[in-house]
Amino acid sequence: MPFFDVKQKIEELKSALNNSVDFSSRYFEKNGQEIGMVFLKSITDQALFSEALYLPLQTYEKPLDMEILRNDIIKGTDVKIIDDNEMVQEILDGKIVFFTNFSDEILAIDFLKFPTRVPSEPPTSPVIQGPREGFVEDLQTNITLLRRRIKSPDFTIETLRVGSVTQTKVCVGYIKGISNKKVVRKIIKRLKEIEVDGILDSYNIVSFLQDKPNSLFRQIGNSEKPDVVVSKLLEGKACIIVDGSPIVLTIPFIFLEDIQNSNDYYTNHHYSSFVRVIRLFGLMISLIAPGFYLALQIYHYNILPLNFLITIADTTQGLPFTPFLEILFIFLLFQILYEVSLRLPSYLGLATSVVGALILGDTGVKAGLISPPGVIIVALSKIALYTIPEEASQVTVLQLLFIIFGGSLGLVGIISGLVYLANYLNTIDSYGTPYLAPYSPRIQNDLQDAIFSKPLVQIKTRPKSFNPEKEKIK
């Protein structure tokens, strides 16, 4: 009694895959031994298949058994034994499914091949010094990039499938003994609970992983650089790699991570502390400068030094708009220009800049529609925004709110807004880590690499904020 009716099985699989146009099968018969092989030619390396499996099978003269097949014939690729009900999924994963009439074993042989990018410097995080490799869309390559840097048996990767239709592979990476077990368990639990049709990018799972999914603020870190992800893993975090996405997520996440940059770790620590202060300063300017300017101009003009006040009075005299509407108008103008420049092809981007900067800006001032200080303040806040590009989206929304606060309530509105914002941020915990740590609450140990950083030689412990299993660095 044969184990498989090979021809019938091939037909069954073809039907299960809906007669897909890239369905491919091989039937092979020798000395009464029948072999069937099924795969999708669109995602299979057919040259390798011929060389490593098909030709050796054809030339093998002796009777076959599965042990010989696994050990002597199939070379240079991964082979695993699978169940009958796993066959379709394995084919969809780019494996060749191999079955015979003389054994009940089914083999899945890895000949996966699809177009991939070569790891290159990611456009979102260029570095002056330091590694220039970036993640790509291929899961296996991304794991390789991490594994190359962590040669430890404790580096563990667990794989799940997310998305009922896309069946996307999602990997959770962590270092056993360093990453907090509870955090890893919570991540895996949340990933398992995701019920969607498809995951196309790592961003698709972010809202499922966040403690506050409706929040304006991101609570999950991300990076395109393997060195950054490895450093986060070493701090006790976990990472999530999604097949098809060059962005790797890291958990837990704190606000301070956006102030820090991979460049900081490849330069002198004094300089890195300095630039972090500048970034923070830039963030504050960008957040409150337009609102603060409005508050001073409308309500607290007596605070301004006389010369400055005279300049503002001179330039704003005769404007058709109120100061509030003027700043709002300039803010919206900048935002529209920004959105246009993002979406236009690069050759049109220059034209937009000219129209925006010269025609709208310069002519607007000359026509007496807007004032130069207003343009300068909004432009300054927009430029300062990109000292921390990761925070750009949320800060843009907040800028508008602070313009409304400053314009309607003055300095009281700005201060109220800031305190409200801080209170709100203090309610956010990212997997047990306070969002504003290590400053609020103050965690003395973690201040060694916060805004100000110590040289690496003096950092003896991992950040306590992330509750690592092992605090001491050996």
């Binding site: 007596n302 309530l409 300095l411 509105g413 201060i415 409200y420 209170n423 609450p441």
Partner: protein, 363 residues
Amino acid sequence: MKNTQISLRQCGIIIAMCIFANKILLMPSLMFENSKSDSIFVLIFLFALDFIALPIFLRLKKHYPTERLYDILKDKIGVFVTKLIFILLIVFFFFKCLLVFSVTYVYFKNQIYHDEFIFLAFISFLPVISHAAIVGIRAFSRTMELFFFFVIAGFIVCLCISLFTPISMPYFFTTTAKDFFTSTYNHIFSFGDFAFLFLVIDRIKISDGEEKSIYKYAFFSMLLVLILYILFFAKYQITAFMHNNALADMLVFSVQFNAIGRLDIIAMITIMLMTVFQMEIFSFAFCECFQSIFPLLNRAYAIVFFDILFCVLYYVFVGKYENVVSSVVSWLPVLGMIVSYLLPILFWIISYQKRRGKIEKTD
């Protein structure tokens, strides 16, 4: 419970904020009217009385590390008296909040806004403090921790800049004992800041040997207030009663102030931050008491009740902070004395009984 706990440092910062409340703007000039430069001794005396509550609090915390004040009192003195005490606490914290608001309101009205629009601007504090009361002590104490450096830095800058103007030590012992005690009585309501600690006794995480940290914060903030008074009286001498905004006026009438520019923005921001934080603390205390009395109502009811009461009462007092001030010196001191001194004595008796009970058990 774990999620609502605060660290000792955060507790110290809350206490520091309470100690600054109502003492750094209007009170120095009001005190001066009663007891001239000897107000400094009044201040020291009242601070010393306040300080007595701190060891009582720590002792009570030691005996009841995780229990709520309401539950402790309920077991010892019954539900009715406990509710009565909590009603007194509600009134105490509410008027503290109203006083902070009124004094700052007048300061900003005179300083910047000059028109009634400020009422709307100041009402913008209400959503902030309501949000703080709802999200709880952990979130807003962390916020205070974040801003504490700036608040203290602003305070110290105001003090330091005043030093550039020639000052001379004020004359002491120019008033009688009666003036001294009148002044003490009149301003007693602005003290009793440690009452808040008793209210959140179950929320404070104290490890062994850490207790003295809370003394440090209390002492440091009292010292800053004391320095402010000394410098204020030294600077303005007999005209001190005319300067209703002590901390801000330390800057405004300095030579450097005119040389550098309008530095009073430092005082404004410092005072604004302090005001919001103090109101957050007092409104939270109000809600805690409210919820203890009406355990079936959730926090939202408490804060809505607070907001309505605040707006209505403020509307009565709007632009007439004299009303608030007259209340402060007429009937509120009685309430202040009960909350600041009688309650700690009651707590001391309770902790003493508990200690005796433990000793007897051991024997």
